[in-house]
């Protein structure tokens, strides 16, 4: 016979606030891209970031039940043409002071500079721009998503461990592609990689659905990659237009990595170490899909708020921010070590996963890369390298 016995409420003797406190968290995103996904194997995701944030809210509320704190999420999706500042001001007027932002860097800076943002706390969950971490920092803007430099460094460390030091870099035409290529160039210098060849991909996207489309692709990639020998082809194609077409078609039998192939990422549905299995299952049971890196960044931001709110017993954005940037803050994030925020630019430091499509390959930072304070700071921009004045 099974009975479920529900919890007795918090009784006297519990040394935490008995008063009820509500923390409202806003999440601003732009409308998702309408373009078709590369493969039918990957369903279109309409609630990217939102589902991750909601998971964080659920997790926060399980503790909040006992501590008298309740968390809620208000997701707002902007249509094209809608200004983020209007939506931000509207939420601020309703009392929201804690914001997750899944927006491009320019929007982030515009919002962070609004007078309303001065007493709010903002989290960048989607933009990977290194400039936000190096010279365009804002005190009220923390980053739970990894930067391009962190991802490039994570991959470069693994390649150094493998001694795959000769890199053939193939770069797309988007500014984002060039930015990632730049991050790879910096990572090469830091970790002993050598870009032996660099080419720009100037062809159109592949002809996957047309009959015998493979024939022209086979030819095109073969010819394009006929260069002097290298160890790995690193592709910079952030919009996922052509990078997937390069594997198994290069002139030389060499692996592909970068934005496709062997990828460095904050999260993947393949990941099951350090207790992640339960976490993945819980999310999957709620949403019917697997957590994306964007979901995970949103979850990290919401959990950061929850963790700080529990430990400081406060909903005040300044109190929470101070706690998050202090040595006291630690978040258990299924990465084997606590994750914390860098006080010089508000970037969350975390191990990054090196994954293929179906399994985990490695985790960076790799053994042997030393650092005076934390090996996690071998990924991305370190204190002496930023000009943020914090």
């Amino acid at each position: 016979m099974q009975m479920r016995i529900w919890l007795a409420l918090v009784l006297a003797g519990l040394p935490l606030a008995a008063q009820s406190m509500t923390l409202e968290i806003g999440l601003l995103s732009r409308e998702a891209d309408e373009s078709l996904p590369l493969t039918s194997l990957e369903p279109r995701i309409d609630d990217n970031a939102i589902a991750g944030a909601e998971q964080g809210i659920r997790d926060n509320n399980t503790t909040g039940r006992f501590t008298g704190q309740s968390f809620s999420l208000t997701p707002v999706v902007l249509t094209t043409g809608e200004a983020p500042s209007d939506a931000f001001r509207a939420m601020y007027a309703e009392g929201t002071r804690l914001f997750l932002l899944n927006l491009p860097a320019a929007d982030l800076l515009e919002l962070a500079d609004l007078p309303e943002a001065a007493d709010s706390l903002l989290f960048n969950v989607g933009a990977a721009d290194d400039s936000l971490r190096v010279d365009a920092c804002r005190e009220n803007l923390l980053h739970s998503a990894p930067s391009r430099a962190m991802r490039a460094d994570a991959l470069a460390q693994y390649l150094a461990w493998k001694r795959w030091t000769r890199w053939f870099l193939v770069v797309g035409r988007d500014p984002a592609d060039r930015a990632y290529a730049e991050a790879l160039g910096r990572a090469a210098k830091r970790f002993g990689g050598k870009i032996v060849e660099r080419k720009e991909w100037t062809f159109d996207a592949g002809a996957r659905r047309t009959d015998s489309g493979h024939f022209s692709e086979q030819q095109a990639v073969n010819a394009f990659t006929q260069v002097d020998d290298y160890d790995i082809l690193l592709v910079a194609d952030e919009a996922d237009r052509f990078g997937e077409y390069l594997s198994y078609r290069s002139y030389r039998p060499r692996p592909v990595g970068g934005t496709q192939g062997l990828v460095a990422t904050a999260w993947s549905g393949v990941f099951e170490q350090w207790g992640a299995t339960q976490f993945q299952r819980r999310f999957n049971a709620e949403t019917g899909r697997w957590m994306t890196p964007l979901d995970y960044a949103a979850w990290l931001a919401v959990r950061s708020i929850g963790e700080s709110a529990t430990r400081t017993d406060s909903a005040d954005p300044q109190t929470l921010r101070r706690h998050m940037l202090s040595p006291e803050f630690k978040l258990a994030a299924f990465k084997g070590v606590p994750v914390t925020y860098r006080d010089w630019n508000g970037q969350l430091r975390q191990p990054l996963l090196i994954v293929s499509r179906r399994i985990l390959v490695s985790v960076s930072p790799q053994e042997g890369f030393l650092h005076q304070f934390s090996p996690l700071d071998t990924l991305g921009y370190d204190r002496p390298e930023v000009r943020c004045g914090q």
């Binding site: 016979m1 519990l14 503790t63 006992f66 207790g275 630690k330």
Partner: protein, 327 residues
Amino acid sequence: MPYRSRTAWVRILLLCIGLLATASAGAYTVYVSSEKDNVISVIDGDSLKMLDQVKVGQRPRGIALSKDNKVLYICTSDEDHIEVLDLATRKVTHTLPSGPDPELLALGPEGRYLYVANEDDNMVTVVDVENRSKVVEIQVGVEPEGMGVSADGQWLVNTSETTNMAHFIDLKTNEVVANVLVDQRPRVAQFTPDSRQVWVSSEIGGSVSVIDVASKTIIKKIRFEIPGIRAESIQPVGIQISDDGRRAFVALGPAARVAVIDTTTLEVEKLLLVGQRVWNMAFSPDRTRLFTTNGVSNDMSVIDLKKLRVRKTVPVGRLPWGVVVAP
């Protein structure tokens, strides 16, 4: 030196063998669950020789010895049940219901009720080992793991990995009556033999919270400093407390060390270097030794408790998880 005849030497030799035989009459057996090999390794406590590796269900983790020392209760996590291993025949005789994905279990002091943490659905399942049935399911925080039962039979403490809490369950009513916030990712809850304190390890928080049971408040958070070891690698998991309550032992995970703590001062007395990712420990029946499971180096260390020194480390199955010692 006096000359000894050959027969004299033979007599001395036989005497020594006789003494050894008497010594091994007090012998005991160590059982270790191997998460990856799906076996229970059986190791002779004296010689440290591997006697057997018993095949059990998928992913055995938490194990507990029955009160009469005759069977081993095993959480075979991927099978969603508990297996009962007869230690004389070394065969699994039957299973017990446990709820999904049982990781860790604790046996009540009377020996009849097993308390099992179900990570996937946030429950503690209470199982009657005689009737072989579920008695009740108690809802707790997210991802319950640690289970500690007080020797006086009054309290069950369950730790919740994501809510970062230790939930106190009154065993008279099977209800959660108090919740204490500890540091991040609590794993193990262990009562002192006098039932007056419960010690809770926080793996990611890097501390052990010593909680006073009467007031449900934290007396002290013990932290660890190891020269040359980064703070993030110090991840306390298993806790064992000596019978006289004077010493506590804490396994520090990737720091590869066991901390020895004086329970009166709550200060770390000594650090003992064992194998990689040390998680759980068990005393020998005569309390002269402590056995530790070193998950990543796939071995087990033996600590001499009189000298407080690591005597030896022996290989066991892959990813050793739980350890118990049966007389």
